[in-house]
Amino acid sequence: MDSAFELIQFSESSWSFKVDDDDIDKWISTLDVILRNKSNQLISEWVLGDACFLLFVTRKTSRAELARLFYQSPHVDNHNITPVVHHIPIQFTGEDLEEVTIKSQMSEKDYIQKFLAAEYSVKFMGFTPGFAYIEGGFVSDLPRRSSPRTHIAAGAVAVAAGYTCIYPSQSAGGWNVIAYTDIKIFDEKKETPFLFSPGDKIKFNNLLEEEE
């Protein structure tokens, strides 16, 4: 890889790894190639946040060793990456849909139409297992609810702070619930327990329209 990056040691065995936003998908591919390579002894795991990666490494790994590993990694171009695309059927029956449309100053019909027209991608995951911070859309830049709900059902599609999310399991939460899906995005019993992975693309479909 030849794109720019910054490495800052974070803990005894982790390094903060900052790259350009536009290069994140390329670096996800590169890191996955490195992790699949059996001769890799340096990096064991990575986590992506909103602003940077955290690389979990063998203790006493140096910046030079990591940098060498990256410079020697195969070059990945954006057009070489075929993103995984998920189609998620949803029903706009969320408790906060009305409030969200009012705050967004548009009719429910317009809001739904615009929500469905947009393309989304998984920026990073966290909070609870399988919880994806989904980027994109047009008007998720609402604050969280002033008083969080103590019970949000699994499959709730919610918006807040510039992101959309789907609750992977029942939990408390402060996001504004606009819709629901029956798709399980986290199932610990499955061979592939997580439906999403950072970098994946998502398209929401209206379940009611699909049935018509």
């Binding site: 800052i8 040691q9 974070f10 803990s11 005894e12 065995s13 982790s14 903060s16 064991s44 795991e45 990575w46 986590v47 992506l48 946040g49 909103d50 602003a51 940077c52 990666f53 955290l54 979990f56 203790r59 990073f124 995951m125 966290g126 909070f127 609870t128 297992p129 399988g130 919880f131 911070y133 399991s169 986290f186 610990e188 327990p193 997580f194 999403f196 992975s197 950072p198």
Partner: protein
């Protein structure tokens, strides 16, 4: 087969191992032992060279009945330091304590619990892993083969729980946000009553703030500075990403010491930069 039954417990108990690695990018914390050093000793007392599925308790208050002859090691809170063969019908009673937080009951070969995402560790908040309750009977993975049993530790060789209370902290990416109010460096730390497997809160250390940051990935030991002025040290079940400033990261080798600090205890902090090591 070796086996024990849970007769009673005061606080929640759980099965833990060395942790669940490889799933943090999906938001799954590593979980695992809160005090890996104590858990390793309990396992050695039970004849396990490598830590395996072990019962973790908090503050004692746990009673077990040995159902069939078993080789068991107990180490940790309640000043437990036992490793021996138990006959069927014997009881193991761990008193309530306030001098340490975590303790471990290990059995030769480890407890037989099915793995989820390659680990048996229970992560309560996400409901990953099996819960154990009063009345549960836990089997070991191995038969007790006394001739092969290799007891790696004798109880008298065990060190007591780490009592020295200095923890080393590397300055974190947002340390400079503390500005002139860099009190956490100067002051001893006081552990709050709000401690659990996710995080340890430190009180009376910092001022309030109103920084709002993008979420960045965390590791165990990362110290987040909340807007209310508390510090939260991420522990085994702690989040994989966080949006509060990270002012430091506790040295990995000192996390066991921190984990055993009871509420209200005072700890010294020794700050460093990575270049210094």
């Amino acid at each position: 087969m070796q086996s024990v039954k849970i007769i009673s417990h005061v606080l929640p108990i759980s099965i833990q191992d060395s942790g669940r690695y490889g799933y943090r990018k999906y938001g799954v914390p590593i979980s695992g032992f809160m005090d890996a050093e104590a858990a390793a000793i309990a396992n050695k007392l039970a004849g396990n060279l490598i830590p395996v599925a072990t019962i973790e308790y908090a503050y004692g208050g746990l009673k077990l009945e040995v159902l069939t002859e078993s080789y068991i090691g107990v180490f940790g809170a309640g000043q437990m330091n036992i490793g021996r063969l138990y006959k069927a019908g014997e009881w193991i009673t761990i008193p309530m304590t306030g001098d340490a937080v975590w303790g471990y009951v290990a059995i030769y070969g480890g407890f037989k619990i099915s793995q989820i995402l390659e680990s048996v560790s229970k992560h309560s908040r996400a409901e990953i892993g099996k819960s154990i309750e009063v009345g549960d009977e836990l089997l070991a993975c191995h038969e007790l083969t006394t001739d092969k049993l290799n007891c790696y530790y004798k109880t008298e060789q065990c060190k007591s729980l780490n009592k020295h209370k200095t923890i080393r902290i590397a300055r974190g990416p947002h340390f400079s946000l503390l500005g002139s109010a860099s009190k956490p460096v100067e002051k001893n730390w006081k552990i709050s009553h709000l401690i659990d497997r996710s995080g340890y809160r430190i009180i009376d250390t910092c001022d309030r703030h109103s920084y709002s940051l993008k979420s960045i990935p965390l590791c165990k030991g990362a110290i987040q500075w909340t807007p209310g002025g508390e510090l939260i040290v991420a522990m085994a079940d702690g989040p994989t990403v966080g949006g509060y400033p990270i002012i430091g990261v506790v040295h990995e080798d000192d996390l066991s010491t921190l984990a055993q600090c009871v509420p209200e205890s005072i700890i010294n902090t020794q700050w460093y930069d990575f270049a210094e090591l």
